[in-house]
Amino acid sequence: MVELGKKVMAGDVRSASRLIRNIEDNLPGAKQEIRKIFPYTGKAHVVGLTGPPGAGKSTLTDELIRCFRRKGKTVGVLAVDPSSPFTGGAILGDRIRMQRHAEDPGVFVRSLATRGTMGGLSKAAGDAIHVMDAMGKDIVMVETVGIGQQEVEIIHHAHTVLVVLVPGMGDEIQAIKAGVMEIGDIFVINKAHREGAGKLFKEITAMLDMGPREPGAWRPPIVMVESVAEPHEFERCVDELSDKIEAHYQYLVNTNQLGDRQRRRSLAEINAAVRDAILETVLRRLVADGELDRMVEKALNKESDPYTLAEQVAERYLGGSKASMPVAE
């Protein structure tokens, strides 16, 4: 494992995938490797794709890979699928749609299971992005789970967020609007041959018109993508989409907003890391000395309550007032 970080930076797929695996599995030493590569990250354009299941995200990702490759860019893809809450197992099926690129050394597709993480990504996603970034991938696409409206985690990681929708979802659009519409930098109406595409277009437009927008600010474009059953039309639409993605990145660069996005990402990462660092250490000790069991007993017997118990723990381990607790969301 010692050399993993170095090999990753040399672009070695096997080491990169292994390092991602070690992060997923929370192996000791994995974070050390991330530390080594971290200074070399920050070059890749991270593109998130989110939207409901069945919206065609994987097929779209597959076609975007083709577009970016044609433009000479190397591509990494992280495809997240849900783990079963019952067995912990998962079928990671997104890569099926991207298998035609499997033999292309300029493309690296890695599937991730959520392993219980909410928000549409996996806990390892952030570091996995760093790994692909450090490998030198020009574009890193992150495809979220696609289960519902709470998929906002992606904004902490991506420079450009695509919200992929399909016509004919009925009332679902309302729920999705409430959750993910604010985060889109680009909207995609996929399978635009279907009835209701025009209506969806109007709805998104109306929503975009609602908020105030400063002059010169980015107005999220809405890209209509034809059915994959019309391959030539589909290709043309996705070509256009890939241009819009690049234009958005250029906009971020030109308006010095890229830094804001980076800052947003760093903040989220530090947040998570701090929580992990403190919580994990504390929990491990509580379990090891049997304190956790005793606390459960106290709560059961109504001798105490969860809040008091937590405060006592914080007092003991953080050694100060509540004010010095790390800020949790």
Binding site: R21, D25, N26, P28, G89, I91, R95, Q99, E103
Partner: protein
């Protein structure tokens, strides 16, 4: 607090589309608590090998019912070896006559499962013989 998970890939090299077994196994592996990557049908040996490496799987299961396993299976083994990934446990399944077992073992396959093998047998075999690598 490490949380090791077994990752397996179910791949269908070759042109045959008889994926009933492969898909039943993918579900069965999920229910056994593994993380499963399924490739879909019609994969070349190159696609199988490179996907297995990109996904860092512990085991690669190949399914073929057309008789082309005699070329396709050893080809995948060879490609993995060339890329230094022969520590991925290789298993095969499908319509595979007895006399082909030994050549496949020689090529690096650790087990061959033919039609009628209970799912539990396969899951147990994996739990015993496949460990997450580090």
């Amino acid at each position: 607090m490490s949380e090791r998970k077994i990752r397996v890939m179910v791949a269908k090299p070759g042109l045959d589309g008889h994926d009933r077994g492969a898909r039943v196994l993918a579900r069965c592996f999920r229910d056994a608590g593994f993380e499963v990557i399924y490739t879909g049908c019609h994969q070349t040996p190159e696609q199988c090998a490179s996907a297995a490496i990109q996904e860092d799987v512990d085991m690669l299961g190949l399914s073929c019912l057309s008789g082309a396993h005699r070329y396709l299976f050893p080809q995948v083994a060879k490609l993995l070896k060339e890329q230094g990934a022969d520590d991925i446990v290789l298993v095969g399944g499908g319509i595979i006559p007895d006399q082909d077992f030994q050549p496949l073992y020689d090529a690096g396959f650790k087990a061959i499962f033919t039609p009628g093998t209970p799912l539990d047998t396969i899951v147990d075999w994996i739990k015993t013989n496949v460990k997450p690598r580090s």
